[in-house]
Amino acid sequence: MSSEIRFTDFKSDKQPTWCPGCGDFGTMNGMMKALAETGNDPDNTFIVAGIGCSGKIGTYMHSYALHGVHGRALPVGTGVKLARPDIEVMVAGGDGDGYSIGAGHFVHAVRRNVDMTYVVMDNRIYGLTKGQASPTSREDFETSTTPEGPKQPPVNPHALALASGATFIAQSFASDALRHQEIIRKAVEHDGFGFVNVYSPCVTFNDVDTYDYFRDSLVDLAEADHDPTDYDAAKDVILDSDKEYQGVIYQNEASVPYNERHGVEEDMSDIPDGAPGDATDLVREFY
């Protein structure tokens, strides 16, 4: 079946309402292509989306999907994957969803290392609410709610992931379609929690972190002799605040995903018509 699947099968009949030129178009295309390329089809794929411009992605893609509550997409994805190890789970959200309201869940999802992919569409701004600072906004980034800038350093999501025990950390750029697709594919194929932060420029509210800015400043790790299995090298890339990178920054090849560590590998949706066979043993335990 997989050979017949084309990435357009993952497209819904709803036209995106993202602003023309929004990075989210490219981010989504790469996700759909990576899913098709890895042999998935819409009926065995589950997309979980957060709230914000990025959260609309579940509507524009065709698959099983849940567009949930702000900041809680990762726990939902965790539940889907543990109940259905046979289903491909991809969680998508924005920098606000993931690193602000959902930051607590991010740390623990990384630790848990459930075998799913997390795509953060990072535009360093709150777009849907018309331009307020996000947790990845620059310290001096002026917005309607931070007229002199947030005056606090942006969150470093990769550092947060590394400190939380991540097994796969990557960065891509929505406009570099081939590299973006390739990086998402690697995250999908990774045995464990595949985390990809995607630079997905907001063309309406962010005139600093623009396509041109990223095009000019991005260093591709594939061309920089970077070994993603080298923890110390990954740490150096992550803590280097002078440059922007794209590529797989860190991958622990010894990663054992949560399902495997906990022996949660059965489809939980299939249950008997009555109490399970040995349930009477449970009553006997109370003698």
Binding site: S12, D13, K14, P42, D43, N44, T45, F46, V48, G58, T59, H62, S63, Y64, A65, L66, H67, G68, V69, G71, R72, L74, P75, V76, G77, T78, G79, V80, K81, L82, A83, R84, D86, I87, G104, H105, V107, H108, H262, G263, V264, E266, D267, M268, S269, I271, P272, D273, G274, A275, P276, D278, A279, T280, L282, V283, R284, F286, Y287
Partner: protein, 585 residues
Amino acid sequence: MVADFNWAVGGEAGDGIDSTGKIFAQALSRSGRHVFTSKDFASRIRGGYTAYKVRTSVDKVQSVVDELDVLIALTPRTIDENLDELHEGSVIIYDGERTTMQNVEIPEGMVGVDVPLKRLAEEAGGAIMRNVVALGAACAVADFPIENLDSALEKRFGDKGRKLVENNKEAARAGRSYVAEEYDQTFEYELETTDADYVLLNGDEAIGMGAIAAGCRFYAGYPITPATDVMTYLTGRIERFGGHVVQAEDELSAINMALGAARGGARAMTATSGPGIDLMTETFGLIATSETPLVICNVMRSGPSTGMPTKQEQGDLNHMLYGGHGEVPRFVLAPTTVDECFWKTIEAFNLAEQYQLPVYLTADLSMAVTEQTFPPDAFDMDAVEIDRGFLVDESTVDDHRTESGGFTPHEITEDGVSPRALPGTVDGAHMSTGLEHDEQGRRTEDTEMRVEQVDKRNRKVETARRREDWSPREFGDPDADNLVITWGSNEGALAEALDILADDGIRARVLSVPYVFPRPDLTEAIETAENTIVVECNETGQFANLVERDALVRVDRVTKYDGVRFKADELAEEIKATLIQGVEA
């Protein structure tokens, strides 16, 4: 009143009070006696005092009473705390060699039994068995065959090695022999044993067992008193049935994980208490509007805020009924007894899937931590029925697709229930969202579709009202002029209060209601009665308010919110006083 025996062990937190009490309760249960335990003593002084109380009889016991026949006091304070319940002839077992107990005064009329607990325990193999020596002493005082205690010790320590079990048995015998030799008197108690087989469990355990019986495979939770026992019970057991327990980082995560598992097609549950319910309310509307079947167990404790975390209250009823912004259909089930916790859990899972909505399953602290005996067939696994509702498979999915091919998980139907396709079902792929949506789950702000979806969701409640049985349990005198209505764990105390009231010539009809929403219409019963009293553990009378609104009448209230459950004798007094007040008015 049943001829019963009331026993307690008390001391400081860390003295092993809970496990000592549990061993004695287990021994009684294994001897064929009924048991009802409580850990909810009124603590008049704040601090580390803790006690475990056991009421036992050959007949069924379902309440706590203000009586104590034998008390194992590990601290002087244990005696002070229980003075009101001790009576002429009560026996106090203590260790007079313990520094703090050397000058202890046994109240007049009571019998002090001074046993060197620590010394005898050391002789048997270790001071840690001090409490077991006391249990042996209690067996002597209560004329209870020590073999039953052996059996309970085997259960408690069996997996820790033969030697430990034998040492404990020896410690118990040392306690018994000491009392037999040093106290050359017959105490007035004799605990008769029977051939009956009982199981001993609490409400949290009954909920956990009910969940497994119902096919629940996924549990996510965050530890919180008094709901943690549900999680502890499931951990290590649900795995045997292909399930899994996740300890989430917080309640926000727990409910979203459970939601995810339910979207995946698993029967999923989370359990928490008031503070956790507050957090979970964030996701509640999403569950309802995405029409996801989910069981949310709320083991209530005293609020608001952190309140009194280890104390009884039934104060969350309004929150469960109305919590969350917007108008959100939900069911609220409230089992009234420990065994009903098992059956209502199964019912909650069925209702959640039949009507594709969130179901609150609520117990309260008293019921959650009370160990009670039941015949094992009270939990007959062969009687468990599973109904998964309107699920489509590959052969029926085509009946629920639009012309353009989209599956319709929110199809407008006559009964309000829409087809459900689990992930992996070919051609069933669809979106669900917290946004208002069309039949395919796609966002819409179309005015007609909005109204149709709201109506459809609410129609499920009307369908359920019609299709399911929401009857209350009835007991007492069906023709009595006095009607007493209650919900949650007060039923046991009320059943025994009826006997006490009968001695005073007061008769009452009792309706114990396990369904808060939808709930039975009690109008006719209220109109037939001369006096109606609603009994509950909160200050404002939250259930009484519902009853008044349903029946458009005023009712009397007996409420309690001091953190302690109703006791049978106390409740009888309150009911009597309310009736007399009514007459005088």
